[in-house]
Amino acid sequence: MASVMLIGSSLQAQNDDVLVKITPDIPWLYVTHLGQKVKIGRIQDTTNRLTDDYTKTSRACPPFCIHPTKVNDKIKTIAEVEMAHFLKNRVNSGKGVVIDARLKSWYELETIPSAVNIPYTVMDSGTKNTAEKVFRLLGMKTGKDGKWDFSKAKELAVFDNGVWCDQSRRLIDGLLKYGYPAQKIVYYRDGFQGWKLLGLTTVVQKENVK
């Protein structure tokens, strides 16, 4: 009993020890990325600053124009708090998947833990055949009448580089074009820039080591 209480109180203490939490009741959370367990937390140094290319302010517009708040009336726009809940509740149970809509090279350099890469070109300029294959991986089934049944399809949280980046919108347009239900798609507008600006953990698959 004493040891249980000790563990309990130290877990509580660990919770309280986290200075920079993700949300007040989620100090950090675990996901898996390509089978590897990853802890998502925020950088704890309160003086830390972002210094990389995600602090760039002026990408040419057009073509890299700022996007409105919403993609369309049906698709919900979410942010980091909702992402944290999505990861905890949907991704870890298999009901949902975070989709990195960027081209593969971006994804491999750095991405959000647990994210799966569907480059927008797959949906944007791919064939119906390819779309079907991807949809099946996402849980679509074919009914007896040959129609596509999305009732068991996963919920998708789609993101790209940030508010000026068009890759997620193109992927979403492609998904909708082939019939993926809008209510199963959410748009993480702040994107990778928003993620990094809050000091959240990222994964690197292809390191650029000198």
Partner: protein, 322 residues
């Protein structure tokens, strides 16, 4: 116009219940502690199990790349520059010059390209590998054991490159085609520009100058107030007249007030005078001419183009250590 949401909100979808406001955290502290204790009692039976699995897991992870990094000031991951491609020759990426060409700016250029059937199949194959090997729903994430919780915070995790090595030449070629869409390298002081600190400020009369400061200094003047200005002034008067007392805003207000000093320090500027160089400005702003790198850090446009310093320019000379 707001449209009502007809459908039933899921637990993660409902924003209304997601009111994680700091002011509520305090009052629910006791309750949460109670719930924590009850959960701990439930965990009693599971702890033994988990201890075993956790230990086994830790043994596995030791062979991985989870080397905890010390918490540095800027624990940034590798700067996304051109990726190393061992397979085929890289396209040369030129450093962006002062001239702004669209090609140099195509950072995330979503180039329209048509993939062939084979390329598409490769992508789908990769996707399948990601989904299945990822074991999304086969490996439920368990509550961490104490040792795992005590691991230091690291911000990038290297996933093994095994998957990458399995790609065939076609996919690698696809990657290379996208290389030139990757962003440019972080600016460093160019080797060509020596003595960046002694470049004299130009005098610009009519020429176009790219304004990196982009802040308009507005003075209060009694002459040209419009309705909006009047509104602003009147509200300002009301605010000034407010008596400050201990209220529910106080705690939060005091923590914000502490942050204002950072803001003030960040907003410190010098106005470049005739004959100024970065060294001289550094001496004025920081007391030491050799502190000019601080000015470069705060005004990175000068790193690549030190000649852009001009008379009348406002340069940030923050007091904070970046």
């Amino acid at each position: 116009m707001l449209k009502k949401r007809e459908r039933i909100e899921d637990d993660f979808m409902s924003y209304g219940s997601e009111q994680e406001q700091p002011k509520k955290a305090a009052s629910s502290g006791v309750l949460s502690k109670l719930i924590q204790f009850l959960l701990v009692v439930v965990l009693l039976g599971v702890v033994g199990f988990m201890g075993l699995f956790g230990y086994r897991y830790l043994q596995q992870n030791k062979t991985g790349d989870n080397t905890p990094l010390p918490v540095a000031k800027n624990p940034q991951s590798t700067v996304p520059a051109t990726p190393v491609a061992a397979v085929a020759p890289q396209k040369s990426t030129t450093m962006p010059t002062g001239a702004q060409t669209i090609a140099a700016q195509n950072t995330n250029a979503p180039k329209q390209r048509m993939y062939t059937q084979e390329e598409m199949q490769e992508i789908v194959k990769m996707l399948m590998a990601q989904m299945q090997n990822g074991n999304m729903h086969k490996a439920p994430v368990t509550t961490p054991t104490q040792t795992e919780v005590q691991q230091s915070q690291e911000q990038t995790v290297k996933v093994s490159a095994q998957k990458a090595e399995k790609q065939d030449a076609l996919v690698a070629a696809l990657n290379l085609a996208e290389v030139d869409e990757i962003d440019d390298i972080e600016p460093e002081v160019s080797d060509n520009v020596k003595n960046v600190d002694s470049v004299k400020a130009k005098k610009i009369k009519n020429g176009k100058k790219v304004d990196h400061y982009n802040k308009v200094v507005v003075k209060k003047s009694a002459n040209s107030y419009d309705d909006l200005a009047n509104l602003s002034m009147q509200i300002g008067d009301i605010v000034s007249d407010m008596k400050t007392k201990k209220d529910k805003s106080s705690d939060y207000t005091s923590s914000i007030k502490k942050e204002v000093s950072t803001r003030v320090a960040e907003m410190r500027v010098v106005v470049v005078k005739s004959g100024d160089t970065l060294s001289k400005i550094a001496k004025r702003a920081y007391g030491k001419a050799l502190e000019y790198p601080r000015i470069l850090k705060a005004n990175p446009d000068l790193i690549k183009n030190p000649n852009n310093i001009y008379v009348g320019q406002r340069l940030r000379v923050p007091m904070n250590d970046i």
